[in-house]
Every structure is written in C-alpha cells, then in structure tokens.
Subunit: 387 residues, 3 copies
C-alpha cells in the first residue's frame, strides 16, 4: 500500500495498482473587465471553476470519476461516470460526461488556449448522460467513441429528463505519426478527426428542445422567437485538427449544427455554423501540446528561473442561418453573425499553476443593419491552479 504526493497529484494505491484513489481539484479565479460600450453584465471578479475531483480504480477493470463544480456559486455535478475496461482498446462508459464532439470542448479547461472556449463549443452538446463505447486502436493512433445520450441542445449540459428521442454521437480522431520515436519528426504532433451527432428532437414537457446562444462572456446573442420548437432531425458535424511542433501549436475546428424547427404551420431546416483557429508559441521553448504546457524550470527567483511563458492568438467566426430571419428569430433583437479576435499571454510558474491575460474583441453583424450591435471588448485575467 503506498501514497503519492507530487506534481502528478495525490493518490493512494495498493502495491499492484489494482486499487487506486486519486484526489484532485481545479480552481480558476477570473477578473473580467468589460471595456467601452460592451453590453451585458458588469465587470466582476468571480470563481470561473471551483472543482473537486475524485477518481478511483477498483480491480483494475473498473473505475469511477466524480467531479463537482462550485463555480459562479452554483453547485453542479460535471462528471460522474463508471468506466468498464473490457480489454485493450475497448471500454464502456456509463454516466454523465463530455459528449465526444468538439475538439476544444474535450480539452481540459486548464489547457484551453484562452479563458473561454470558442464559438464552436456553443454549437455542440456539452455534457450529457449516456452510454459510450470507446478506446484507442491502430497502435494508439486512432481514438474512437460511439455513444447514445439524452441529447442536449447546443452549448448545454443535461442531467436527464430530456425529451424522449435519444442522440447518437460518434467521433474519430487520428494521429498517424504519433508513435514516431524521432522527436524532431515534423509530423509527429499532427492529429485530425470528425465528430458527428444525429438524433431526433421534438418539443415536449414545456421545453422547446432548442437552445439560446450567448457570447463568449455570457451576454445574450441569439434566441428563437417564442413558439419556435424543435421538429425533427438534429445533426451536427465537427471536423477538427491540431498540430504541435516544438514550442508551436495550432488548433482549429468547424462546427455545423442543423435543426428542423417549426413555428405554427411553418417548418424549416436551419444550419448554424462556427469555426475557430488559434496558434500558440511557448516563448521559453517548452513543448506546446493539447494537454497544456509544463515548464522546464519552476519559478525560483533565487535560482533565476521563472517558469514558462506562452503567447497565443485566435480568430473565430459564427453565423446563424440567414433563413432564421425574420420568421424564426427577430432581426431587431438577435445577432446574425460575428467575428472575434483575441490574444493572450500565459505564465506557468510551476506545472500546476497558470496566470493568463486575454484581450478579446467580438464584432456583430448581419445582412440587415439591425442585427449589428456594439462590439464586445473584454480584458480577462485568470489565476488558475489544478492538481
């Protein structure tokens, strides 16, 4: 029986590793300033995430993960699932967890490029309750997931009680050269994949089955008119890729979210879409990666070491279906499209801590002038620790 307390976290385990308990947590404190005429909620300090994680492995084959969150003062359960490992490369997951669709959504919130995930995450389902088969195959090169879920509307998480039909969600992601031993191989860090969800959604039990959408900083962006309801198929396609080479990284994805909607006797198939692409450069030379940056030398002023620094920039754009206006959404009140530019600087004094500053500017528009509104300018500072 042994105990681990180090940069890899806190664990107790038996000698074989068949039984293992791990305790962790994430804390992200944000200071968000709205600049200029930015509409919406006020500048504020807040806990963006305050999470406790408990993971246990039992008899090697079974494991459980539990993550609660008290961010923004709301007590929620984020992850709560059981994994059953059938053998090498195939597992069953049951419970509440991240749906396998978006690339940035599946990245740890401690490792995302900027303080908030981009618009593609607003057009995919987030966490949901369901059952998923998943694993890695082809010498770890291919990750795959196929699952059935309640079916959450765009950008939201569900705890059950959905409308009856379920969603089928699948994702494949391939890193063809990931096993190359030669670290200098310039294709080693390339990965690409596709997430797909198909399902049927109808309004039921007083829920329209449709989402409302918000800006990166939680101002209202787009809502359907009253009386608009889901009326059949919902389909999402999310092509995605990243590429990491030494201190440089690029990550991008595209999300298409298509819905059959109805209002009175009218029906329509609406397709909303968003994309983003971002690049980062670790100034101090450490490797960039999907999992985050780990400084080579921890912050230690006496030794003259300062940890790692990283620069990043991102561009993204979203477009609600033009056919939504004016029948299904009010062009006087709802935005049709927008473009966001952001730049960030991160400091990683030690492996578990990150200080980040991000400046972001989002402009809004539409084919009708009425869709436009004042740009959203924000400057956010985050102090983050995870273990």
């Amino acid at each position: 029986q042994s105990v681990f307390a180090d940069a890899g976290g806190f664990r107790i385990a038996d000698d074989d590793g068949d039984y293992q308990l791990r305790i962790g947590g994430d804390l992200q404190t944000d200071a968000r300033m709205l600049l200029g005429d930015t509409p919406g909620t006020s500048s504020s300090f807040f806990l963006r995430r305050a999470r406790v994680r408990l993971s246990a492995t039992l008899q090697r084959r079974f494991s459980i993960r539990f993550m609660s969150d008290f961010g923004r003062g709301q007590a929620t359960i984020q992850d709560a699932y059981i994994d059953f490992r059938f053998g090498s490369g195939l597992s069953l997951r049951a419970g509440r967890f991240s749906t396998p669709l978006g690339l940035e959504f599946l990245q740890s919130s401690n490792a995302t490029m900027h303080v908030e995930r981009g618009y593609p995450t607003a057009f995919v389902s987030n966490r949901d309750v369901g059952f998923q088969l998943y694993g890695r195959t082809l010498g770890q090169r291919l990750q795959y997931s196929v699952g059935v879920f309640n079916g959450a509307p765009d950008g939201t998480s569900l705890d059950g009680d959905a409308t009856p039909p379920k969603d089928l969600i699948a994702r494949a992601f391939i890193e063809p050269w990931r096993n190359n031993r030669d670290a200098s191989d310039w294709l080693r860090g390339l990965g690409a994949g596709l997430g797909v969800s198909v399902g049927t959604e109808r309004s039921a039990n007083g829920s329209s089955g449709l989402a409302s959408y918000r800006t990166l900083h939680r101002s209202a962006l787009f809502s359907y008119r009253g009386g608009v309801e889901a009326d059949g198929r919902r389909m999402r396609l999310v092509p995605q890729a990243y590429y990491y080479a030494g201190p440089f990284g690029v990550i991008g994805e595209y999300a298409l979210s298509q819905h059959d909607v109805q209002r009175g006797d009218n029906t329509e198939t609406l397709a909303h879409r968003a994309w983003q692409i971002g690049g980062s450069w670790v100034l101090t030379g450490e490797s960039a990666s999907y999992g985050g940056v780990s400084p080579e030398n921890s912050y230690d002023p006496e030794a003259g070491t300062w940890g790692a620094f990283e620069l990043s920039a991102k561009v993204q754009r979203f477009q609600f279906d033009e056919d939504a206006f004016p029948q299904y959404a009010d062009p006087e009140a709802q935005v049709e499209n927008g473009t966001s530019l952001a730049a960030g600087l991160s400091w990683y004094p030690v492996r578990n801590v990150r200080f980040m500053t991000v400046a972001e500017r989002t402009t809004f528009g539409g084919t009708e002038a009425a869709n436009a509104r004042d740009a959203e300018h924000t400057l956010t500072m985050r102090v983050q620790l995870s273990y």
Copy 2:
C-alpha cells in the same frame, strides 16, 4: 500510520485505529424506459445517485459521516452526523440521518432488491435532523434506536425549519439466532422488528404538514385537496422482517401511516398503508444478505469466471384511506390503491459493481372507476459502482 486501498475501500489510519479517515462514493446510472401508455415523465438516462462519502473516526469514541449527493443534477446533503460512542452497545447520534423506521429504507441503496425502494418507503419519514440513542445489545441480537426528529412528512427528507412539534421515532429489530456458529442452521438469517413514530403535526408557516405521494417512477399519485391541513396526531407502525438462507432471501414490511387532517370545519383521521414482499435467489450460489451480494469469483473471462448473478421478484400494494375520498382528495384525479409486480436480474462482476435490469408493472384502482388510470410499465437498466 497506514493506508488501505482494497475491495474494502480507501482509508488512512493511525496504527491503533483510533484515528481513521475513509473516502467512498456511490454512482448509479439509470436508463429508464416507460412502456406502453405509461403516463408521466419521459424515458431518460439519468444519474440516480452520485454520492461522495467521507467518514472519520477521532479518538475512537467520536466519529462523523458526511455524504453529499448530486443525483439528478441536484446538490444535496444526505447524511451529516456525529456519533458519540458511550461504551459497548450505546451511542448518541446527532445530525441529519435516516430515521429508524422502514426496513428497506435503512438498507443501502446499493443493496436494495430493485432499482427503486417500494411503496412502504413512501409512507415513512426518510432522512431528518435529530438526535438518536442507539446500539446493539443481547449479544448483538437486538438492534434498537430511539430518537427525536423534526418530523418529516411521509416519504420526504427534511433539512430543518419544520413546524414546531417534534416526532419521537423508535425501532427494534431482533435476530435471535444470529450468533449461531453453525452456518447451516436454517434460522440463523431470520430477523424481525417494528418501527414506530408518534408526533403532532399542524400546518404552519405556509406548509400544510402533509405529503403528496408519487409512484415508484416519480409520477404524481395522490395529493390532498387544496386547503387540507395536518391537524394533530401523526402515527406510523412498520412491522418488518427478513430471512436469508444460503443463496435465498426474503424481505418484507408493512407500513401504516395515520394522520389527523382538517379541511374547513371537517376533521378526520386517515390511515394509509402499504406492504411489500420480495424474494431473491443468487444463481451462482453465493449467500444472499441484507447487505448485498459479494461474488465468490470476480469477472475474469480468461479464467472463465463471471462473477455472481441474482434473480429477484417482488409484489407490493398500497391503499390510501377510503375515507379520504371525496372530502379530502379528488377521486377524479387521485389514485386510491395499486398493485405492483416486478422481476429483476442482477450481475455482480466484482464486489463493488452491479448491473441490474428490472421490469415493473403497477396497476391503479379505487372503489370508484374514476380512480383508475393507465398502468405504469417500466423497464430500467442500472449500472452501479460503490466503493
């Protein structure tokens, strides 16, 4: 100072066991299908329970238990109590915990025969805040509990702020042959007991002091008419027994819940009642018990071992007092009685994990045809892990 990580759970302790901390959790993921014309909420996947448990013992005499639950996306505290061990056979418990009334209610939710506890649990108080003396005596053969509690309405749990009068709740449960060494003794696994609650309940602070009742799968079943209020005595009697012999088990209880109610100038004493009896058979030969099934050989396909399998069946019936109709409850809208039949199959691949499927059919009726409504048919699958 030592660490334990095994099938018995995760603990750290000092060498004497005077100080001990234990971390555990329960996760139950359900897929519930409503079949046929079953009324109520839709078929859904959901987290039935997502619990974290922390138990600590300090200086041997004092211990604390803390269990939060995030099931169905609601953050709640289930257990939070302090135990003070005076000596052998006598302890004081203070805090929020299960009231000592129902037999199935006091059983771990990981060990109950089916996915939901039966109707008798709907007619007893569930968790409540109070103070209780309890212990075991007569060579461990007699369990007893006597406590004073806020006084929760039928089938509910309270966090305080009840109406002023308190409830006295007591329970005795005897297993006369439990100490017989001879495992083949056919009376060894027999236990029987009685739970009793007495108290006064009156409407106060806008609360009627009365409960509404739901079916096993949370559809509305019985509510009093508006303006009906608790008006004096509340009394409950819960005779109960179980019998375990080798792979076979039988468990049954009866709950009588009697209330003085008032509506305008009318008053009445209403007695609602429910009973259930269930049997189980561990097909693979392991012992059945109130605490659950522990497979002799864990799931290991290479070794040709598959864990344990269990069959179970249950019948139950509830009856609201006929005198409630039509003065205190609307026979057009409320059910008067019902019968439920269920059968289940469980697979225990390892000690901490259970897969369960339960099919259940409940029919509803009453002396007036209007009480009847469509039967509730459900098929539920559960994946469960506790540690």
Copy 3:
C-alpha cells in the same frame, strides 16, 4: 511519502512537505428553541454547518483551499482560493475568501464564543471574491491584509456579478508581546487592530446595492423602504481587540458601516453601528485562545478525566442610524436598536468535539415606541465536531 492521521487531522505528504494534501470537515448540529413570544421561525433541529475542506500545497509556494458547505440543506462554496507565497511575510491570495474586516468573523466558526457571531459581523462584508496581499511582519507581531473585492453588502457573501465598482479592504492587527517567551507575561496574549473598507456602491442590474439585516437567529430586523438605493460611498471601520491570559479571555469589536443612500430626490449618508464584548473562563484551567480550547485530558470516564469546560458571557448592542427613519425605513416595521445578553457553557470532551449551550435574550427599541417589539429569547444546544 507519508501519511498522518491524528488529532491534527488527516494528511498525505511527500518527505519534504513540499506537496501536501489535507482533508477535513466541520459539522455543527443545532437544536434551537424559541422561548416566550419570540417572533420568527419555529424551534427546530438543523445542520448549522456541514463542511468539507480540502487543502493542498504544491511545490511549497502554491497552495489551494476549498471548503464547501451543505448547512441548512443549501450547497454553497465558502472558501475557494489560491495562495502564492512570494517569500517570508508576503503572499497573494486570489479567489473567494473571508474579507479582512471583522475580528469575530475571521475567527473559526468552531472557536467562536457562542453559537452565532455577534451583531458587528452583520455590519461588515463576509466572504467575497477578490485579490489580497497579506502576511505577517515585525517578527510575526503584525498581521496585515490589503485587498480588492467585488464589494459585498453588509453581512452578506458574494459569488461575483456585483455592481461594477470594487471595494478596497484592509486590516492590521498587532500583538506586541506575542513573542515573549515567558508564558506568565501578562501582556503576551494582547492583540488589537483595525479593519477598514472603502468603496463606491450604486444600484445596478436590479439590485439596490443595500443589505437587509436579521437578528442573531435570522428573524427580519431592518430593511430599507422600497426604492431606496445605494448612491455612492460605502465605508466601514472596525476597531477590534482581544486579550487572553491563562484560562481567561476577552474579545471585543466595534463596527461602523456608513452608506450613501438615495430615495427619489433625497439623499443621505447613514451610519449604522454595533459593538460587542465577551469574556470566557475555562473552568478546568486550560488556556483560552482565539483559536479555541484544547482539553488537557480527553474524556475518559474509566480514567476519571472529563475534558474541558468553559463558561462565557457576552453583551452586544446595535444601532441603526436615526436619520434612516422615517424617510428611508418604516419605524412601524423596522427596529432601530437593540441589546443582547448571552451566557454559554461549553464542554470539550476531546480536542475536536464541542458541546455548547447558549441562552440569549435580545431586546429591541427605538426613539419611537413603534420600533419596539417582543424580545427574542433563545436557548440553543450545539453538537460540533471538526477535524
């Protein structure tokens, strides 16, 4: 790597102590009786606090504290912050934590003299999200804190989303003789300090920016008239001191809370104030302290030892600004001032456990007879365990 399980708590750590995880909790179960004609909520048993604490230290310089609370059945986050130790005597704290103002508010709830903190705590901000520099200097004699926070109204805690202007809060507390080696030195346990908050508060987003006030046992005490709003400066001054000598302790503070308010065209600067002073005597001779009482001999009836006993008494008074009446508050409905007297007896059977009984009487009055109302008489018993 090592494990600790003792009266100091439960921890796992690496050999250097650079990495450390600590798990703790607090549970307080109260039985509160309202005596006589006391207005307000009913006598009740309730969980006053049910807290889980996780603290971790990473690479010595960084630490995190997470404390959730399920008291009264509400899931909340109390503390969630990151500490960054720059060097000896200077740290940065970021997250949600106690604002550095009131002396009793900053004391552990396990160590406060009586079951509820006094009226001065109702006139300072409680927990808030912000950033604070703090430390000890002058040979540990001076504690200092300077921080910027969202700015919580009197007696409340915030999770973010405040009105835009922020509050600056600072506190200094000096114990000039704390380092004296001679334990008999009669000045060794003397400390005194001052807390100050300054900020601007205006109504925004539908919030008036002003607080309502409650009695010690949560009955409504003072609310502004509808339409009264914060209109500018908010300032608080909290002089404070304690003195501990052997088994005797005295603790006192004064809180002045000044607000610019507006109603229609009228504006006014209102100053509310409260003070308290309390004394305690550990009958069994152990040292009294700000951190609580630790019994010399634990409860052990066979050995004839019974732990520690403590007597305490407190007087306090609050006064709302007379100029608030009748323009900003209704003298028919709101109290203007009050005085509270309380006496308590505590038993500490072991270091982590406390049984406490407190009797309290608060009388209410004002310059107009209409302000007066029935006195609040309460008798509260608490069972408390912390580890």
